[in-house]
Structure formats: structure tokens, C-alpha cells
């Protein structure tokens, strides 16, 4: 497919937004320099949600059409989503230490994001334990759909349980509370991370397709 971005474009996009986030954009009026963590923390978290959404859609398509390409997309996206969730949790913990004074708090969004991490770790573990290719796809697809049920819970947990975590600043009713220059940098970071995600997704799908082809070569002839 021609739509997949090349690796150099992903590196360039992420590199330039990182330089802008660290050196060009002014510091936040309230939080100062520490707020620059947002330019890597928020895209990681958003892309993790997007990745799990892609897993959901690909799982639905696999169950409907039985095409292994969708299953490859589902597992690839789940693995990348898991990595991004882990990075969002760690970068969030660092941000938390700097602003709240502690690495971890039983804040609802933090906790449910950690649970989301465990859900998709379970998804990958279950897949690994099933030898039959088609059954692995079916079970993975079902779990991918059920697991995604937790994503809205994560997002709305801020509103449900009202914890320490700051409420949404961009996607909310009314104008965003963030300064416009900072918002543009944040959106640019999200776009660059999305390009990186797309590149990783294609590579990870290639890996899955290669493994499937190797497994096919192992099967008895006839």
C-alpha cells in the first residue's frame, strides 16, 4: 500500500516536534518547563487509545470477513498500543512526581490506564498460548472487542470518580483551557506520533505476515 509513511518521515516528524517542544515553544504560564512533558505524554496516551480502537475495528472486520490481514492488524496495533500505554504511564508518573510530589497515586485515570495495560497484556498472552492460527485469530478478535470496553471507562473515569488527575483540557465542552501556541505544538506532536504509529503498524503487520508465511511453509504438503 502506498499510504503507509516511510520510516524517515516518521523520524523527521517526531524529531522536529520534539525539538520544538523542548526548545521553541514557550513554557506554560502555570506549570513552567515541566509542562513540556505533555508533548510526549499526551500523544502517547492518545495514540494508545487509537491503537486499541484500531484493534477493535480490525477484530470486528476479522470476525466478519475471516481475512487474516485484519487479524494481523489487530495484534500489531494491540502490541504498539501496549507499548504506548506503558510509556504514557511512566512519563505520567515522572510528571506526577514533579507536580504532585509522588510517582503514583490511586487516581482513577492512572489506575484504569494501568488496568488497560494489563487487559492488552492479557490479550497478547492469550494469543501466544493458542497454537491453531484460525482459533488464535477468533479468540484474539473476541478479546480485542471485549477489552476495548474498558477504554471508555478509562476516558470517563475522570468524570465518574473525580480524582487528582487534571480534567480534559482539549476535548471538552467550551474552548480548550490551553494556550494556542502550546495547543498547536500539542496537536503537531499528536500528528507526528500518529505517523510513527502508522509506520510501526506496517512493520509489525509485515512481521506477522512473515511469521504466517513461515508457518505455512512448515505445514505438511498436500
Amino acid at each position: 500500500m502506498k499510504l503507509w509513511p516511510p520510516g524517515w518521515l516518521a523520524a523527521l516528524a517526531v524529531g522536529s516536534t520534539v525539538v520544538a517542544g523542548l526548545f521553541l515553544v514557550p513554557p506554560d504560564a502555570a506549570q513552567g518547563d515541566i509542562q513540556r512533558i505533555m508533548y510526549v505524554h499526551v500523544p502517547s496516551a492518545w495514540l494508545a487509545y487509537l491503537a486499541f480502537f484500531v484493534t477493535l475495528v480490525a477484530s470486528l472486520l476479522y470476525l466478519r470477513r475471516g481475512d487474516l490481514r485484519y487479524d494481523r492488524m489487530a495484534v500489531a496495533s494491540a502490541e504498539i498500543g501496549l507499548i504506548l500505554t506503558g510509556l504514557a504511564i511512566v512519563s505520567g508518573a515522572i510528571w506526577g512526581k514533579a507536580t504532585w510530589g509522588k510517582w503514583w497515586d490511586w487516581d482513577p485515570r492512572l489506575t484504569t490506564t494501568a488496568i488497560l495495560f494489563v487487559v492488552y497484556a492479557g490479550y497478547l498472552l492469550i494469543r501466544q498460548s493458542i497454537a491453531d492460527r484460525r482459533r488464535r485469530g477468533r479468540v484474539g478478535a473476541t478479546f480485542g472487542i471485549v477489552g476495548f470496553l474498558n477504554v471508555p471507562v478509562v476516558h470517563f473515569s475522570v468524570l465518574w470518580w473525580r480524582g487528582l488527575h487534571q480534567p480534559p483540557t482539549v476535548i471538552r465542552s467550551g474552548d480548550p483551557t490551553i494556550d494556542h501556541v502550546l495547543l498547536i505544538e500539542l496537536l503537531a506532536s499528536v500528528v507526528s506520533f500518529t505517523i510513527l504509529y502508522a509506520w510501526l503498524l506496517r512493520r509489525r503487520m509485515d512481521l506477522e505476515a512473515t511469521r504466517d508465511a513461515a508457518a505455512l511453509a512448515l505445514e505438511p504438503r498436500g
Partner: protein, 225 residues
């Protein structure tokens, strides 16, 4: 036979096996009592702290008991390829899912009430008349949890390390049920009955989601390779 008649028969089979063998309930209850005693020992003789922790303790004990019961029922079904026979015989295979939800709901509901009874004794809980609301609440949480457990059982039924993977797959999915169950029970126990309906609605939504997904995907998920 209709799907519901099949499901009722299968649920009856599960419960009869359990009544006669008494393996799942006994081990689940033992697990729950051990959990309550261990936490009691860890916290020490501080009745107020233990009473405050009671709903969470009961629910943690219940989750582990649920895993023990589910694992036992599934092992019975999978031995001698009994499940394979069921799969071939049944007209509508969703009856296996419904039957499992029914038997698990009854088992988990009774288990929850039994664990509450033990908790009243061990944690010195002072029950008010409103605590009777724990009975319908146990029923609702049991149905919610059973809908999820039966679905996850179908997913991990024939994986290599089922006893290990069942909690890994199930417990994170049950977190909303756990939270809603703990908060609703705490509200009932503390006499804050006005807070319970919100959590009851959350439990109903979760039960509908799990049961709906279970009915839609069970046949695909549980289909033998």
C-alpha cells in the same frame, strides 16, 4: 428444544455436579475464608479499619472464589471431551453460554452471601436493617460477574495455561464490576442507600454489555479448532 430449555438443562447439570461433588464451592469458600483471615491478621485487631475494608475484602475474596468455581466447572466440561459432545449435539450453541451464566450466577450469588456471613463474624460487622439490600445486590453482581466469567472461559478454554491465564484475562475486565460492587455494598452497609442506585445502574449496564457480547461472540470464541 428451545435455547432456554437447553440452557436450563445445562445449568442444572452444572449445579447437580457441584452439589454432588462439592469441590468448587468447598475450595472457593476455603479460599475466601483464608483471604479474610489473612487480611484480618495483617491489619491487626482494629475493628474500625476492618469494618471499613470489609466490602473490598469480601469482593476480593469473591473474585478469587469465582475463578476457582469457573475453573472447576470448565475442567469438568473439558474432561473426556464432554464439551465436544455438547458442541455437536446442541442446535443453538449459545445455550452453552446461557447455561453457564445461569449456573455461575447461582453459584456466585450464594457464595457472595456466604462470604458476607463469614465477614460479619470475622470482621465484626454491625448490620442495619438496610443491609438486607445486600441480597438483591449479590444477585445482580453475580449475574454481571457470571456474564463476564462465562465469556472469558470460552476464550481461554483450550489454551495451554488456562488456570494461569483465566485470572490474567478476567480480573482486569471485572474491574468496573468490582468497583461498582464494592461502592454499592459500602453504601448499603454505611446507611448511605441514596448512593447505591448509581452503582446499580453501572452494574446493569456492565451486565448487559457482557451478556450481549457473550451471546454475539460465544460461538465464534468457543468453537473448537
Amino acid at each position: 428444544m428451545s435455547i432456554l430449555q437447553d440452557a436450563l438443562l445445562l445449568a442444572r447439570k452444572d449445579l447437580l455436579i457441584e452439589i454432588r461433588a462439592r469441590q468448587a464451592a468447598a475450595s472457593a469458600m476455603a479460599l475466601a475464608i483464608i483471604a479474610l483471615v489473612l487480611v484480618g491478621l495483617a491489619v491487626g485487631p482494629q475493628p474500625d479499619r476492618l469494618r471499613a475494608l470489609a466490602p473490598a475484602l469480601v469482593w476480593i475474596a469473591l473474585l478469587y472464589a469465582a475463578i476457582a468455581v469457573a475453573e472447576r466447572l470448565e475442567r469438568t466440561d473439558r474432561s473426556d471431551d464432554a464439551f465436544g459432545g455438547l458442541w455437536l449435539v446442541l442446535e443453538d450453541r449459545r445455550s452453552i453460554y446461557i447455561g453457564r451464566v445461569l449456573s455461575l450466577s447461582i453459584a456466585l450469588g450464594l457464595l457472595q452471601l456466604a462470604i458476607w456471613a463469614v465477614a460479619v463474624l470475622l470482621l465484626d460487622l454491625r448490620l442495619k436493617p438496610e443491609a438486607m439490600a445486600l441480597v438483591p445486590l449479590a444477585g445482580l453482581t453475580a449475574v454481571t460477574a457470571a456474564s463476564a466469567v462465562a465469556l472469558v472461559l470460552a476464550l481461554v478454554s483450550d489454551v495451554g495455561h488456562r488456570p494461569l491465564l483465566l485470572p490474567v484475562a478476567l480480573l482486569p475486565l471485572l474491574v468496573p464490576t468490582f468497583l461498582a460492587g464494592v461502592q454499592a455494598s459500602a453504601a448499603v452497609l454505611d446507611g448511605r442507600a441514596g448512593e447505591a442506585p448509581g452503582w446499580v445502574v453501572a452494574l446493569l449496564i456492565e451486565a448487559a454489555l457482557f451478556a450481549g457480547l457473550g451471546l454475539l461472540t460465544f460461538e465464534t470464541a468457543a468453537s473448537p479448532a
